[in-house]
């Protein structure tokens, strides 16, 4: 019995929640509503999948939020100031994510700086760095540059369509690009972590680094790869953010970080995994999305939403740590 509760408790809770909102909130039970719940969690969900990779190798990445906002600024800068195409802007962002992840990994693995501290430092560094090129201003088409001239570039249509285009799916214009990206990345990282040798080795590194090393695994490389994955995922999140907003906003990304970490931690509880896993992370992100959109539809003020988010996280962690260790 306890086993069933641990395995399926969280999924049952999610189902219950959906039924509750479908009854209590008018308009909740519709395909459009389902899609925009996915859309509302797409960006944090992608970040959460990235951070899951670092959790798997027993690490942590606090810099994902600022990587995402830096990528957003970089995309805007590339197009508005440097007048590059959407393709260049996207490559530029992905490169930033990969480089930041690589630096994080090298600092953690070779300089032996604890993961939390290294990525905390990187977070501050990026929050400052993203403001240097524009002297602290947000980036929008037609903005005034620090030297007094006016930027002539614009967000290209192709780039904006990443945030605005919708695919037909049963209904016309239903599924936004960000949701498709989320689903594709979720399946990819899930398959990668669960079914490839590389992914299984990452779990081995996370559960016992010494043993993995003695078994001959290149532990350092696996760890660095985890941070590179996390950096790239965060920069994808940033690209989608820039495409949705249509400008580069200076932002610390702390809320993105916290929401993403919450989703990944809630994921521990799904199916009683008690460890980081991609499926759980995706469900965790969805859970938070369903709760927040449902509460908003019922006119609940923002502070109750933070409260509920926190409560869910605590319950999920109790599921993970107390219940699953008791049955062992």
């Amino acid at each position: 019995m306890a086993n069933i509760v641990i395995r399926y408790g969280f999924l049952a809770l999610l189902a219950g929640l959906i039924i509750f909102f479908a009854v209590a909130a008018p308009g909740f039970a519709s395909p459009q509503s389902a899609v925009f719940i996915f859309q509302s969690v797409a960006i944090t969900g992608i970040l959460a999948l990235g951070v899951t990779a670092t959790l798997v190798v027993g690490g942590f990445d606090l810099s994902i939020g600022s990587v995402a906002t830096s990528a957003m600024m970089a995309a805007a800068y590339a197009m508005v100031v440097m007048e590059q195409s959407a393709f260049v802007a996207v490559l530029f962002c992905l490169a930033i994510g990969a480089i930041v992840g690589l630096i994080n990994g090298i600092i953690i693995v070779y300089m032996r700086v604890p993961d939390l501290l290294a990525t905390l430092g990187m977070m501050f560094l990026l929050v400052g760095l993203q403001r240097i090129p524009t002297e602290g201003r947000s980036i929008a088409a037609g903005m005034t540059l620090p030297d007094g001239s006016t930027a002539t570039g614009t967000f290209s249509e192709a780039f904006l369509s990443l945030g605005r285009h919708r695919f037909d799916f049963f209904l016309p214009n239903l599924v936004p690009v960000s949701v498709v990206v989320l689903l594709v990345l979720a399946v990819l990282i899930w398959f990668f972590l669960e079914f490839t040798r590389f992914g299984r080795m990452m779990y081995a590194v996370g559960s016992n680094e010494k043993a993995a090393e003695l078994a001959g695994a290149p532990v350092k490389a696996y760890k660095i790869w985890a941070y590179v994955i996390s950096g790239i995922f965060a920069s994808i999140g940033g690209i989608l953010l820039a495409a949705r907003l249509g400008r580069g906003d200076i932002a610390s990304g702390n809320n993105l970080l916290l929401d993403a970490v919450a989703a990944a931690l809630i994921g521990f509880a799904v199916l009683g995994a008690a460890k980081p896993n991609a499926f759980g992370t995706a469900i965790g992100a969805l859970f938070v999305g369903v709760l927040l959109q449902g509460l908003t539809m019922m006119n609940a003020p923002y502070y109750t939403q933070d409260f509920v988010k926190g409560a869910v996280l605590v319950v999920a962690l109790v599921f993970t740590f107390a219940l699953s260790s008791r049955t062992k």
Partner: protein, 347 residues
């Protein structure tokens, strides 16, 4: 706060052209007949973001127009440090201090010490509870009133509204008072939903909320979002829901990005009311200069806001903040704290 930027280059050019006429300085009252001997300090609590950047550029341009020596102290949201910086400015022997934001509790005594040391002080957006210190304010109530009057003008006196608000933020609370007054005055205004969040990026978080609200409450005609980040988020949600032609958004504050969002074809963002932060910076310096010259700027110096409608932007082909200043003179310059001898940095 509004996201606003302003060319320093343009302003300094204007200021430089004024300085090129040294005869003017002779006509000014003491101590501005020898402005190079006048030193003023700007002690800041908040500095990150476009609003504060633009405020600083306004302070700098007016200081330059007067020819005075400006020192900028930036406490970066450290309340204790900000108080120390006032003491530092006193020790430096400055003639005047502008306190920009801060906490009443930490700044009250520091401001009093400056006044006791014979220094003239003005405060922007922080109440230091001192009769000798004039308050510079951008009128949040007027901002909200202008936007809502336009909403009434466009939509009549009876509509279904959604309202974006986060309590506990002083300017939003002041704007909220006006919203409540309007609801009381016009019984036809029916607020069906209230939401809002300051999770950053704010526009993205508000867009997520607004999507839910629009789905749950069909028939909303007007969204009052008295902060431009809120309005930007609501506009994204309205576009995504395909309701651009059914809903009108009224907001406060303005930026280059806002201007392009308002000008998109079929944009639901109908109007915004805004004060130019650079002008607020200029007014702060001017009020201080009046005090130094022995004149009285008044207990509170209010910088009036400007209503900016979609039609204004389209008719004048305004693309960014510079165009806005150039084509809407009431936005570029406020005739506040402007005695005859005061140089206008915007000319």
């Amino acid at each position: 706060m509004s996201i606003t930027r302003r060319t320093l280059g343009r302003l300094t050019l204007a200021a430089a052209s004024l300085l090129a006429l040294p005869a003017l300085a002779q006509d000014r009252p003491a101590p501005f007949d020898k402005p190079e001997n006048v030193r003023i300090a700007l002690v800041r609590y908040l500095s990150t973001g476009d609003f504060f950047q633009a405020y600083l550029s306004g302070v700098e341009s007016q200081a330059k127009a007067l020819g005075v020596d400006l020192r900028v102290f930036d406490s970066r949201q450290d309340a204790a440090l900000q108080a120390d910086m006032v003491d530092q400015a006193i020790a430096l022997g400055v003639d005047g201090i502008i306190i920009q934001h801060g906490l009443t509790e930490s700044m009250k005594e520091a401001a009093q010490r400056a006044v006791d040391a014979g220094i003239k002080v003005v405060a922007f957006d922080v109440n230091v509870e001192n009769d000798k210190i004039p308050q510079i304010e951008q009128s949040d109530r007027d901002l909200a009133r202008l936007a809502l009057e336009q909403a009434i003008k466009d939509n009549g006196e009876s509509w279904k509204a959604a309202y974006v608000y986060v309590a506990g933020i002083a300017p939003l609370d002041r704007r909220d008072e006006t919203w409540k007054e309007f609801k009381a005055k016009y019984s036809g205004i029916q607020e069906v939903a209230q939401f809002g969040t300051l999770d950053n990026p704010i526009a993205n978080s508000v867009a997520n909320q607004a999507r839910s609200v629009l789905t749950a409450n069909p028939g909303i005609q007007v969204v009052f979002a008295p902060y431009d980040e809120f309005a930007k988020g609501v506009k994204i949600a309205v576009d995504e829901a395909g309701l651009s032609s059914d809903i009108k958004i009224y907001s406060a504050d303005v930026s280059t990005a806002d201007i392009s969002a308002m000008r998109e074809p079929g944009s639901s963002w109908a109007a915004t009311a805004a004060t130019n932060p650079a002008v607020v910076g200029q007014v702060s310096v001017r009020a201080l200069a009046m005090m130094l010259a022995g004149e009285d700027p008044g207990r509170s110096v209010i910088v009036p806001p400007t209503l900016i409608t979609q039609a204004d932007l389209n008719d004048n082909d305004i693309k960014n903040m510079e165009d806005l200043s150039a084509k809407m003179p009431q936005f570029r310059h406020a005739d506040v704290a402007m005695p005859a001898w005061m140089p206008n940095p915007n000319e």
